[in-house]
């Protein structure tokens, strides 16, 4: 199956290079997941020290992006990979951009947490944001797992979760509008909550993108801007074939 194609190269150096750059991508993913988790914790616990750390550590994510980008270019230039290997490198180059953006969104949430930490917390500790955060964290985690396992089914499931995230985001927005009308003094804080929800919604979109790169990497099929049902019909028969092979 496709998952084993990495180990079929005659040149083991090439193999090691590919494996190493993939591991780097997933390590970067791990750091981004941690950043997202910590930014949400900082918001819920009004922990300004933790929020400050998240803002500071965003530089680490950026450094990793640059390093992986360089490594991918080096492999492209010196090894001239083809077929599945080329798709892996392309998918990695695209995925690091999305991961870096997720890192930026985490930094935004941390900045909002810094601002909100000076105000009194609502009794529910931003329950809606925490709920949305858990959904989105799960999506990022599943998308990266799918990348590690080259698992198309799991990657497609990530895209399905994005709908829940959108619905949740809509409902938070409606709620915030109501709050603002009820009490205009709360507008500043409510706006911040909306921004945090917006950031999380964007993270969900980036996670979906990563899922799409997994499908591209495994099947060579570009499923961006395609409805899920259509994707299923395009991917399924192939998936069955490769199972039989």
């Amino acid at each position: 199956m496709e998952t084993t194609h990495l180990s079929q190269h005659i040149s083991s150096r090439f193999n090691e290079d590919l494996e190493a750059v993939r591991a780097d991508l997933l390590a970067m993913g791990g750091l981004v997941e941690e950043q997202l988790r910590r930014s949400l914790a900082a918001l819920a616990d009004a922990d300004s020290a933790l929020a400050g750390e998240v803002v500071r550590d965003d530089a680490k994510v950026n450094r990793m992006e640059v390093a992986i980008d360089e490594e991918c270019l080096r492999i492209l230039a010196t090894r001239a990979p083809t077929a599945g290997d080329l798709r892996l490198i392309v998918a990695i180059i695209k995925a690091i951009t999305d991961l870096e953006r997720i890192g930026d969104e985490a930094r935004k949430i941390a900045n909002i947490a810094l601002r909100l930490a000076t105000l009194e917390r609502p009794a529910d500790r931003y329950r809606e944001i925490r709920h949305l955060g858990r959904l989105v964290e799960g999506m990022v985690h599943d998308a990266l797992d799918a990348f590690a396992r080259m698992d198309v089914d799991a990657a497609l499931r990530v895209a399905q979760h994005d709908r829940h995230v959108d619905e949740e985001y809509e409902s938070i927005q409606r709620q915030c509008v109501t709050f603002m009308m009820e009490d205009p003094r709360q507008i500043r804080r409510t706006l911040d909550v909306t921004w945090a929800a917006r950031a999380l919604e964007r993270v969900g979109d980036h996670a979906t993108n990563i899922g799409e790169y997994v499908v591209y990497m495994v099947h060579g099929e570009d499923i961006r801007h395609t409805r899920i049902e259509e994707v299923e019909t395009r991917i399924r028969p192939r998936a069955d074939e490769s199972d039989e092979a």
Partner: protein
């Protein structure tokens, strides 16, 4: 396994030899009759060899397709050979089966272990994992074999731990959100670059530990307020001129004990604060020489003190650390030495730096510590002997505080002692904590 008796084998070979002789005699006879002796012998031997070759061919054919065919019946020694082969084969199959059974049992028992076990190859790919490991780390079991473990467990601390070389201790990883789970992961290197990863659920222990810490902190905090009230009234009572003179000694004793209790609670709070911040401190450069000079002055100001308190500063280097914590650790050590050194004794404070790092030591000429007590000395409320520290009014927590402070600075405490001669307590700090002394422009 029963072996063919030697006599029987000999008989069989004898039979073969007799058969060869009969064949040769037959050939000779035919040769004599036809008058061509050599041609007769030649033809007979050719036939004999051909027959044997045919047998050899059948044997070879059977060996190649053994699983599909019954053993051939070839007669004579040939049958003997076939029997031996069949027997060898049967024995091999028996041993293979036994090995497989043992292997399966071993694998089943490992799978049933309450701890997770993952076998990693040289490049960190999963080679095998048991059910518990898959469950704890949310892996998929068989289909995750061949995938690098750090691609699936991506927490930066774990990736760092696995990439490092120090596997002497397990690492604790927090996974899952509400309810959180704490897992202890321990990589054990074996063979050539292979590692076995032990995974254990330590959620319960971690919760208990944090509950214990919180309890100690809260209890100490809550005890402090009533104690302050008691101390306040005792102070008023002691200074009250109308107090019955008979009651003066008990009130004084009560005040002393209340002060001691306050000291214990204070130390408990310091300890729990140190425990709460378990990460290493960065801190700022501390002028140790100046700190030690002040500590020496404090000792000299005591009513009961050792005759000589010498200060031996070999380095002007600063120590990178938390000012308050380092002061409390050094003060505890100096205080201990001052208490245990007799009035005519000597106490020496030393501060020096070398290639291994920075060092601070306190040497006294006190009663010393029995060797068996030294390892337990930093335990909370540990007493070398029941009377000793109570008489001097210590809290029993001083050395525990020293140990924690040193841990937070990457250092360690060394205790040397000879009973009846004195003790030396040395704090060792790693070299990266040394900051060269700033050059004073007025002196250069």
């Amino acid at each position: 396994m029963p072996r063919q008796p030697f006599a029987l084998t000999l008989k069989m070979w004898g039979f073969m030899a007799v058969r060869l002789l009969i064949t040769l005699a037959l050939g000779l006879a035919v040769g004599l009759i036809t008058g061509r002796v050599f041609a007769g012998l030649f033809v007979t031997l050719l036939l004999y060899t051909g027959w044997q070759l045919a047998n050899l061919f059948r044997l070879d054919h059977w060996l190649r397709h053994r699983s599909l065919m019954d053993p051939p019946i070839l007669g004579g020694v040939w049958d003997d050979v076939v029997t031996q082969v069949v027997r060898l084969h049967r024995r091999k199959r028996y041993h293979k089966q036994r090995l497989l059974t043992v292997l399966h049992e071993l694998r089943d028992s490992t799978a049933a272990l309450p701890d997770g076990v993952i076998v990693l190859n040289r490049s960190g790919e999963i080679e095998w994992l048991n059910r518990m490991a898959a469950q704890l780390l949310q892996l998929r079991g068989r289909s995750d074999i061949g995938i690098r473990i750090d691609n699936l467990i991506r927490q930066p601390e774990f990736v760092q731990y696995l990439a490092g070389t120090d596997f002497s201790a397990p690492m604790v990883l927090q996974t899952g959100t509400a309810p959180e789970t704490w897992l202890s992961l321990h990589a054990l290197p074996y063979g050539e670059g292979r590692r076995m990863l032990l995974v254990r659920d330590v959620t319960r222990q971690t919760r208990l530990e944090s509950m214990r810490k919180e309890f100690v902190a809260n209890a100490s905090h809550e005890l402090r307020s009533p104690l302050t009230v008691i101390s306040g009234y005792l102070e008023t009572l002691a200074t009250d001129p109308a107090l019955d003179p008979q009651l003066a000694p008990p009130v004084a004793e009560m005040r002393r004990q209340a002060d001691r209790m306050a000291a214990i609670i204070g130390d408990l709070l310091v300890l729990s604060r140190l425990e709460a911040k378990d990460a290493q401190v960065e801190g700022e450069p501390i002028d140790v020489a100046a700190m030690l000079a002040l500590l020496r002055k404090d000792v000299l100001a005591r009513p009961q003190r050792p005759a000589t308190v010498s200060l031996d500063i070999d380095s002007a280097d600063r120590l990178l650390g938390d000012d308050i914590e380092i002061h409390s650790a050094f003060a505890n050590l100096v205080d201990n030495a001052a208490k245990y050194t007799p009035a005519e004794g000597t106490m020496t404070l030393r501060w020096w730096t070398d290639g291994a790092g920075a060092h601070f030591s306190v040497a006294d000429t006190g009663p010393g510590i029995p060797a068996e007590a030294i390892p337990r000395l930093t335990e909370r409320f540990y007493r070398v002997d029941a009377g000793r520290s109570r008489a001097t009014g210590g809290s029993g927590l001083g050395l525990a505080i020293v140990k924690h402070v040193l841990q937070r600075h990457g250092g360690r405490l060394e205790i040397d002692s000879v009973e009846g001669r004195g003790s030396t307590f040395t704090c060792h700090f790693p070299a990266r904590r040394i900051v060269p002394a700033p050059v004073d422009p007025t002196h250069s």
